[in-house]
Subunit: 251 residues, 2 copies
């Protein structure tokens, strides 16, 4: 069983492309948000109930839209719809836009895949470096197909999650296995007045790479390679443990 989800919502062209690819390799279940959920990160819904509705969007593929976040979709798929069944692979995306570098933290697409990986399920988040609704997913589908086929034959050993970003193309030079680049967002808030005259702030900004390493996802993408970052969920800064032992003397 292959679980497919995303954060752009169940009608996004990117998930349609991913469903087409995944369906070649076995039975597929789609559980995806009923509305766009970009930037939802690892959010879960705890203070209100969730709805799941079966939809008939993709021929021969059982599909549900969910009122919650991308991570909620994975939790509902695993614990309700596929309870007791083995999920061989979870694929999330294909996201409209990059999830390289620290964008893995903000991305609903990557958080959904990470949630599955937390449960020991091999997972891949796919992103295409094109935000357009009518982006061309042709070459992204070829990459996704190769990756899915490989992972179904060769289980992931040293981690359970791959963050795969695909250049806009068309002339892609190959695949690079990389580390997450150091970077951050330079934010500006667009300020304005709402119809009632109350001030509002609307988030906008641009990503800045702060990493001159040639082994990063951002560098690979800049060279027109597909970036693959093996990813985990342990945020411990191990190098800092020993130097910070002095804190144990505070009390």
């Amino acid at each position: 069983m292959i679980l497919v989800t995303n954060d752009d919502g169940i009608v996004a062209p990117g998930i349609k492309a991913l469903i087409e690819v995944a369906s070649k390799f076995g039975e597929v279940l789609v559980v995806a948000p009923d509305a766009p959920q970009s930037g939802q990160g690892h959010a879960i819904t705890i203070t209100k109930p969730l709805k799941l509705r079966k939809v008939d969007l993709y021929d021969g593929v059982t599909s549900y839209e969910c009122s919650g976040t991308p991570v909620d979709c994975v939790k509902l798929a695993k614990n309700v719809l596929l309870k007791g069944q083995t999920i061989d692979l979870c694929v999330s995306g294909i996201n409209h836009g990059s999830n390289a570098s620290i964008n893995i933290l903000y991305s609903g697409t990557m958080s959904a895949a990470m949630e599955a990986s937390l449960e020991g399920i091999d997972s891949i988040g796919f992103s295409l470096l094109d935000y357009a609704f009518d982006a061309d997913f042709t070459h992204a589908k070829v990459i996704a197909s190769q990756m899915i086929e490989h992972l179904l034959k060769n289980k992931l050993q040293h981690c359970k999650l791959l963050n795969v970003n695909i250049p806009k193309g068309p002339d892609i030079r190959g695949i690079k296995v990389c580390r997450q680049a150091k970077g951050h967002w330079i934010e500006e808030f667009q300020e304005g007045l709402d119809p009632r005259g109350e001030k509002y702030y609307w988030l906008t900004g641009r990503f800045q790479n702060n990493d001159d390493g040639e082994d990063t996802d951002i560098f690979a993408l800049s060279q027109n390679y597909v970036s693959v970052v093996p990813s985990g969920f342990d945020l411990t800064a191990y190098d800092a443990i020993l130097p910070l032992k002095q804190l144990e003397n505070l009390s």
Copy 2:
């Protein structure tokens, strides 16, 4: 300048306790959600505008409530309210409930602190292992005070974020600097029918520790120690890079 935020909302007793502590050490700005935002993870608001409203809740402390997520609060504080000013420290919490182990991923409290750390600001997320609204923050305030004082005197060197969890007490044995324990949530969805007869699913569950290490946050807390996990934002699974180089031959 010390920035204070949380995810339980600007009126939660936990943030009141933290404001009282932080105010002893210098000028404080509070920017916190106008409603509870537990489980929001690293969510940001991109598809709608945000509101900031000045509130008069804490004597002598400039405070704003924000319509967005905890991470939005930090972004607005840094880029709008404190634009161009130095933030010496960001403290988030005191959360009502544990954020140990993988709960750092789901926690709005920790994600707010992580967002500040991404900007190079020394940051601490504080959590008390007591979900009750009327939890006793007396000993948590003592710990928070010691940590804040220490970090204002000694900038963090090897990481920019501390995940501090405090046992319910009262007999706390000391502080342990630890790594994040491996664990996951065993979920169950409570199913029911809404007033219109439509099925709903409501997330519930219990945390399970899968880590028998004695150097973890979960172990320290079980022994009645405060746990301090130095944390980063690089999710790369470095051990997996070399074994996965074979993926570069796919294309």
